[in-house]
Symmetry: D2
Subunit: 339 residues, 4 copies
């Protein structure tokens, strides 16, 4: 597909040049798997980024990152509370069922695909504490959410308090964590509320942000890392030449490239949003826009060369990326405004 | 690790320049997952290579390739016959148990980590055909084997006949399939005996042969591809930017780079073998050498700058790669001869 | 618990005397597992009952019966459509996730915990036919439903047609199949619409109908029986002394004891219903009543010695059984009428 | 099968009259599942029997008992060391693979199907402590072993010490635990070395000892009971009318019926053994005899009305039971002696 003005998704964008450089620099002999010098740096680099001890592992996909982390938070006979429209429920081909050996996704409702303690309690409070009903073991939230909404540090603190009170693990799907962090002020630590520790694990996404095929599983309790390493191998996710994945991630962390890329995408989204007015279905906080558009309006935009997905019969989704052209974004905003 | 003369393994070798070029050429917008133009070529290219209809999918690791293919040949309540020293039994962290939902690996013995119908029958004939015992559903062989031995087309035909007779699927772990094919005369089709169809699926390895992170699951019954595609997603192995994996594989197939790389590695292995005499534990047919060496002898070699793994207390394993230097290989052969 | 007038559930009622007799008669040497003479009769007896070829196996619980049957209709990467309030979703402790290796329950809505093709299509039509979304493989319905409603033969025919059209398996949870059949006129064949074959499998319940610990998995495609037998063993459900389970089931089939017991329970339910008027939340077709009752009214009934479960804050569930006393049922009906 | 002198197995023997009485006594209303008064007694009764705190649950089969207990000792990515001829490996239809979600059985060798620390170390010491190899999480032993051999309290203490040192769980398959305890002097506590705590869990078998369909999972760490209860439900093993299972077990514990039954079977085995001389392949310590007998000799015994299984081409297995007739046992001993 060679659309001139691509807003389909950030998930197939080109790879950032600095990552190419880093991978080429890694193209020399080193130990296989994660025994190489680059992989060995990950723990320290994420510890520095989050300002607290953590362990970090590379994997090739967000699905694997989420599921490997969740598998240590939820036993096969337990359940993971997530939003009804969470990616792990809707778009991961049943991967949680596979990695968690049949554990149940328990579907809560919440505005903007976000969850509050209230939303979660409404789902789990009616569950009888007997063996006939699956008990919740963990919560999974998405930062930014499937509708591009972010959790503020305060909201995370509240959720974390609730999770601890209910003895539930808390995992964060961060496929677009960088975009959330950029929106929230630029601190990874704040975007995961790392200091006060509500989140147990984070799938820190890089692929949608200019990476090729590397995400990080970040474990804020490093003691869980050994189990995740065994599970990663068992799931066929331990690549021989892991140094090329580590190289991508380290290049992203260098000079906060992850943040610059996300900020660029977010800014482009705002340029589009400027033209959307009350067509927006959700506030634009990250790099996704959900816009009310009739079929005719969508057709008109496509005629002008904009590529994007329909979002139900009445709207469309636009996604900006690290490499979205400023002109394309403003053009799209204007085109929508002119409809 | 920066050994001057590396014979540790082919699994961490650098990436072939042509693959870098291909990946860079793919660094432009296209559809995500396997919807891109490159991934779309795979079926046809492998069909041409094997001279019969087949479907092919990329995955990032050999473990995933083996297990995804096996999962369609063996139900959770069945078993897969493999050699006692097969990689799937010994070195994949229990991945078959995960992907096959607890199916059993049934361990046969055979010379050189190869299996014959006789070996397999010795294992499965005593199994009572009742529900108390797990019944075999499939066979997995490795081409080249874990001891660097190859199956001749004739041996494959015999195995295939046996498998069909017993109604067992037959999967080939081809982590070093290229090396086997190079030894057997250079025909991929012959190395899988594709024409007469004994093998149901092949994990065609490229990573140990100069790839970065892409292997092919080749299904000689294309009708099984849909299931494998669902299982691949479910296992978190469907990468967003699959075009970079497809690019690697296609570059390998172009002008038979896969074969040239393997032939180079095999030739290097023969150069080493030339100095080993009766120290060799197994005939050298691919790119691995298992050499009887005392502890002192191994220490001496290491002093000379050769890097390799011990193989038990009395021997060592040397592996050559697509980029093994001719001088290093002959030097190693001479050093061993001089011991 | 020694309530004088028990309407809590039929699932803990005493065992019918004829079953005791049958078990005692089986108390002599025979082959273990299902190799005994009684187990050997099952296929023929159910074939006679349903008027078409079927295979039948005993298991100790309805949960196991449902899950073993479903496991042959739905691959681990697929989904089973069921009602949002289906027992397999709500009350089996996640057993489908276990037996089906993480397959997904897909929750449809429908009146009275019943499903129509319309209800199912509303759920599955929006599912994209791509690997990112779990595809439905089967449908599970409950006869009688979790609200005591029955599927007429005509409704079953329609559902069966829909299932075949969509290439979905169709399983019937018949924990109270006998009660449904009694309501529908007394024919097991009609209650499963066996003649025209819409249903692939039936968990035929006996325990709630006077049994001790034996249900039947009935497979209308006997070719699936071998797989279910292997899975039964693998799930630890193949009892050594299976003859005692077979004896219970055969005694139930003798002279249609299953039907007489269910008819008794249904009649008792009607006696209660006679006093409920418009308090009934669902038409009473089997042996369960869902009755609108305030907290005070429930307390009053309990004071009179009636035992039953609350059903949410505003109602109660009453269940009659094979041994419900006529006087107790009429007394309950009158007591409710008098509130 | 109506052999006059049955030595096929104890697993299909009739049910002891006292158990029938106990089940009939339980045939009155009580709470469903394990909420009844009888099930509630189990913890206390086993605590008294073993002289230390334990939790106990009924299940219908030994396979389920073993697997449910093991599932709490071994993660899906781990392994359970057992004897190469252990029942869980050879005769449970792959149930451990199912209940443990693909965990691996790791097969050790040892005399008489028993394991020593030395046997286990020989298997697990060569395992590299890396993610490519499955790590052992637990050990499973069988008391009495598959060849009718017992572990002395001293041997158990040694094994327990080893297990703790290696941080491995220790489970005891006690399908014939009663026979072992009877041989070892009659103390259940000693036969599990309960006082000093080496064993984490015991599948205490009753079915082969005169039961109908109830075994006990005994957890010497009662804190694990909640998980096992959830897993039991999830595996479809929580029967509605659990009181009939509890009744069997309690009747067995009353006045040490379990011990009397086992002592009877053991004595009968000794009567047979008296005639076997050096034909015995294993010392007779419980109720199984493995006897060297040619095909002709076996035919001769069968002509005399003895029923038993061949054990390979050169021998036979004889099993006595709680109801083996004294005359039958002595007749068999004499018949063998006379061959």
């Amino acid at each position: 597909m060679t659309s001139l003005k691509p807003f389909l998704s950030d998930n197939a964008a080109a790879v950032h040049p600095k990552l190419w450089d880093a991978m080429r620099a890694a193209d020399q002999p080193d130990n296989p798997y994660d025994g190489d010098a680059l992989s060995a740096e990950l723990d320290a680099r994420f510890t520095a980024l989050f300002g607290r001890d953590c362990a970090a592992l590379w994997v090739a996909t967000g699905t694997a990152a989420n599921c490997l982390a969740l598998a240590t938070l939820c036993a096969p006979h337990g359940g993971v509370v997530c939003h009804r429209e969470a990616h792990i429920e809707v778009d991961e081909g049943g991967a949680p069922g596979f990695f968690l050996h049949g554990a149940k996704l328990m579907l809560a409702q919440g505005e903007g695909a976000k969850l509050t303690p209230h939303d979660i309690a409404a789902l789990i409070d009616p569950i009888r504490a007997d063996v006939h009903q699956v008990q919740p073991h963990a919560i999974a939230i998405t930062q930014a959410s499937e509708y591009g909404r972010t959790y503020t540090p305060g909201e995370l603190a509240t959720l974390g308090h609730f999770a601890r009170e209910r003895r539930l693990g808390l995992h964060m799907d961060g496929a677009r964590f960088a975009n959330a962090a950029a929106f929230l002020g630029g601190s990874a630590a704040e975007a995961a509320r790392a200091a006060s520790g509500p989140v147990d694990s984070l799938a820190f996404g890089f692929i949608k942000n200019g990476g090729m095929g590397a995400e990080a599983v970040v474990l804020f309790d490093p003691g869980r890392a050994a189990e995740v390493r065994y599970r990663r191998k068992r799931a066929g996710h331990l690549q021989c030449k892991g140094r090329y994945l580590a190289a991508q991630i380290l290049a992203m962390l260098d000079d906060d490239l992850w943040l610059a890329n996300a900020a660029h995408a977010n800014a482009a989204a705002q340029e589009v949003a400027a033209g959307c007015g009350d067509r927006l279905l959700h506030p634009v906080e990250a790099n996704e826009l959900f816009v009310r558009l009739t079929e005719a309006e969508r057709a008109a935009l496509r005629t002008e060369g904009f590529a994007f997905y329909d979002w139900g019969p009445e709207s469309a989704r636009f996604v900006t990326a690290w490499n979205t052209q400023h002109e394309d974004a403003t053009a799209l905003g204007k085109a929508i405004a002119a409809l």
